[in-house]
Symmetry: C2
Subunit: 304 residues, 2 copies
């Protein structure tokens, strides 16, 4: 199966602690790296992960709070020092380019590559990235400021050839792509060999949804229905429900409720408040509602 | 002796590595903390050090390269989240306030405390900070952009009372301060007791000089003559002398030459290029010229 992995670089919330870096993660899809959020220290964590800097061309910023984007300047600057030439694309809610431009002009004067900003609306889901194998769509969230999550979805793949059958019918090479796309095969003698005999169905497209930061809102469930992996913020335990509402964050139990209702394959919770010495309580509360829950952790890698 | 310590938070150079954070250090003088430079991750390192955030009211920025100041936004923001009320003073070459103001206005909208910028000229040494016990003076350096080091100097202390003698002569309490300041004591019978009999001289004022980033220039020697501790950048080994000149940095051997000629007590070298897997070579080259050399290292604490 093609690579589709999530790496956690940082999963703390606004206050960094000795255990957690600010929010940042990388989705590795067939060796293309997509960064989601870029809190302070993201570049150090990226280096630790041993993911290749040169494979990262797209960064998605969920919202303009410092703990989700203060690492951008250092990262951009380091890429410059490393002599990068490929364009770096940054997707974010409105305002980031205007804020960063003077800093980049001053601190990254002779950048060897272009930084290209793409700003998106946060009210409606929108396709913001597409290549041959995936799409990235925004997931409108509800936080104190405009904020979106991101849905990474593989494009439907081709059917897999059954080698023995293809050999048996002596299918010529130039027919193979048609067959992968679903065509039947007609032998020189006019016999129709059904596609279902020659192929097995493509691996179902996989998907990953990132939802942080947000107050608990059931309306996101529709958009993330059936994703293989969901990252959802779980800043607080249930005892801090009032605080969660007040600050537009989610409790672990609420995150698990979303995961269960959306029927996701697995839930990773993160964006932990600094008040928790460890996150066992959050894990317990979430697992009670949705057993396939794991705690995010710096260095964690989850196969999708 | 009163506390006067240097803590290294980060001692890498522009490219962060898995071993070193970008430049930042803290001078702890009688529990007042003074930060020098604030590279990305400084707030995380500060937390690790267990130094109290609330004791830090003054930050000195040597020059406006990202690896010396990209940590400021995160630090300022975190102090705000912690409900700080005390003013935070930032001393830097011209331009920092103008660059940071729009970022602070956006990301730190409702800051609970004031950030006050003090910008200094970098051509001439200038007194930029003074309190009851110390002064901080800039040390003009020569880098690719305007840059200064900082000289922390204790003010001369009072003489120490010799308790036995003071008791013997029954010196009344109200005379003690005069005597600490050097006065003789005259007994009710008119006998003059010389100050030298009643006191031992004050501890000589201690001093710490921070010199980074800079090309090798002997002219700084005069200003840092006899300091107890010198931090000097040593970005490169001697084999990279040409590169050091080109980039306005110093080699370890050159740093040691400065230390020797200035007759300092101890030399800490840092700001290591990312090219060195470890810094043993740099230590060897420096120690050959000035034996009292140590390598900076994250978490290192040096008593002054």
């Amino acid at each position: 199966m093609e690579k589709f992995e999530l790496y956690i670089l940082g999963c703390g919330s606004a206050l960094p602690t000795n255990r957690h870096f600010a929010t940042s993660q990388v989705v590795d899809i067939r060796d293309k790296l997509f960064m989601i959020d870029c809190g302070e220290g993201a570049q150090m964590q990226l280096r630790k992960s041993r993911l290749k800097f040169s494979r990262l061309n797209h960064i998605f910023i969920s919202h303009l709070h410092g703990d989700h984007c203060f690492g951008l300047l250092g990262l951009i600057s380091t890429f410059g020092l490393l002599g990068r030439t490929a364009e770096l694309h940054i997707y974010s809610p409105k305002g980031l380019e205007e804020l960063l431009a003077p800093m980049l002009a001053f601190f990254c004067r002779k950048l060897s590559y272009k930084v290209i900003f793409h700003e998106f609306e946060t009210k409606e889901a929108a396709l913001i990235y597409e290549d041959r194998s995936i799409t990235v769509t925004t997931i409108p969230l509800e936080h104190r400021i405009p904020c979106c999550g991101f849905l990474f979805t593989e494009k439907p793949g081709l059917n897999h050839i059954v080698r023995d059958m293809v050999d048996f019918y002596k299918v010529p090479l130039f027919e193979i792509n048609h067959i992968k796309n679903g065509a039947d095969y007609i032998t020189p003698e006019g016999e129709v060999v059904l596609n279902t005999k020659l192929t097995i169905p493509a691996t179902p497209p996989r998907s990953y949804a990132y939802c942080s930061d947000t107050i608990f809102r059931e309306k996101i469930i529709d958009q993330i229905k059936g994703v293989d992996l969901l990252f959802h913020e779980a800043t607080f335990a249930q005892s801090e429900l009032a605080r969660a509402r007040e600050t537009f964050h989610t409790t672990a139990e609420q995150a698990a409720f979303i995961a269960r209702e959306a029927g996701v394959g697995k839930l990773v919770i993160g964006h932990f408040s600094a008040r928790y010495e460890d996150e066992e309580l959050l894990l317990q509360e979430a697992s009670a509602v949705f057993p396939s829950t794991v705690l995010a952790k710096e260095g964690l890698c989850v196969q999708i």
